[in-house]
Symmetry: C2
Subunit: 176 residues, 2 copies
């Protein structure tokens, strides 16, 4: 982050240091951010997006991104799929909650159907999209560990209608 | 928020206005915050905390609070129970994901057992704690709508070991 002149200070009623502006007293609370995304499929084929930006430009990822203020997690997951892959989704379950504590990120990944499979295409932050059969997933060119986790967890529940969401595989932190 | 001199500006590569410091260019991204909490029980009795701070001072709530940077959601839920109710928890399931979009909050509420039922007590932000039989829950004195949701959802799954987490009851936004 920037803001070179922030002071580190424990505000009244708090129990840890926060960044405080020495001029106006504004407390810049830094909390984990929520990433919302989806494993979205059509007739068993899964939507992946090839990233046109860093980090991991050129690698394949799920449609996902930061939840915005005043947005629900499902609305956010649908928005990201629309922005990045021009896809309209129907979300049917929460697939997983992943923690990436090093970068203070919590990922809420949904299972979804693609309502406009003929209309998908490269949107923001995306240079190509594809619908992949399981056997054709580019495992060696996935952008992040959590993309692989989500794909494998999606496969594990298959058509199950009610299941508990997954978390990180044992011992995995999501760093790459 | 404070910081009277922030400018509203769409950063390069972004698609909406953010708060930007005119002096150093720092972009103060504002995203939803994650609240982590638990419905924690011992022999069927549920842990509630009476709030010693506003909002809703004097009303009963679940042990819960903001997730901190570099923390997993389960670690955060355990920390909040320790801080507010001196309780050690074993978390066994994700009970619910609630959205409170007006205040840009996502609540991840877990089901947990209390490992030290004789050791609980009023901690930070708490003026009293109690273990309540279902029939004795102070329904008229709960702090927030989502406390009631979580209690009712806890009751709905009872001893079920695997279930999909709940979301907001239909039409409810969490405002009070």
């Amino acid at each position: 982050m920037g803001g070179g002149d922030w002071l580190r200070h424990v505000p009244a009623g708090d129990n840890r240091e926060r960044l405080v502006c020495p001029d106006c007293g504004f407390v810049n609370y830094q909390n984990p951010k929520i990433v919302v995304g989806s494993v979205a499929s059509h007739e068993g084929r899964i939507l992946l997006c090839r990233r046109s930006i860093n980090p991991r430009r050129g690698f394949w990822t799920l449609p996902a991104g930061y939840l915005e203020n005043h947005e629900t997690v499902e609305d956010g997951a649908r928005r990201e799929a629309a922005e990045e892959a021009l896809a309209r989704l129907t979300i049917d379950a929460l697939l997983a909650v992943y923690n990436i504590p090093r970068i203070s990120q919590v990922q809420l990944i949904h299972r979804a159907r693609i309502d406009n499979p003929d209309g998908i295409g490269a949107g923001e932050e995306t240079e190509a999209v594809g619908l992949f059969d399981w056997a054709d997933i580019p495992w060696d060119d996935l952008a992040f560990p959590s993309v692989r986790w989500a794909l494998e967890h999606w496969r594990a529940v298959a058509e199950a209608t009610r299941f508990a969401p997954f978390t990180n595989p044992p011992g995995e932190t999501g760093d790459y």
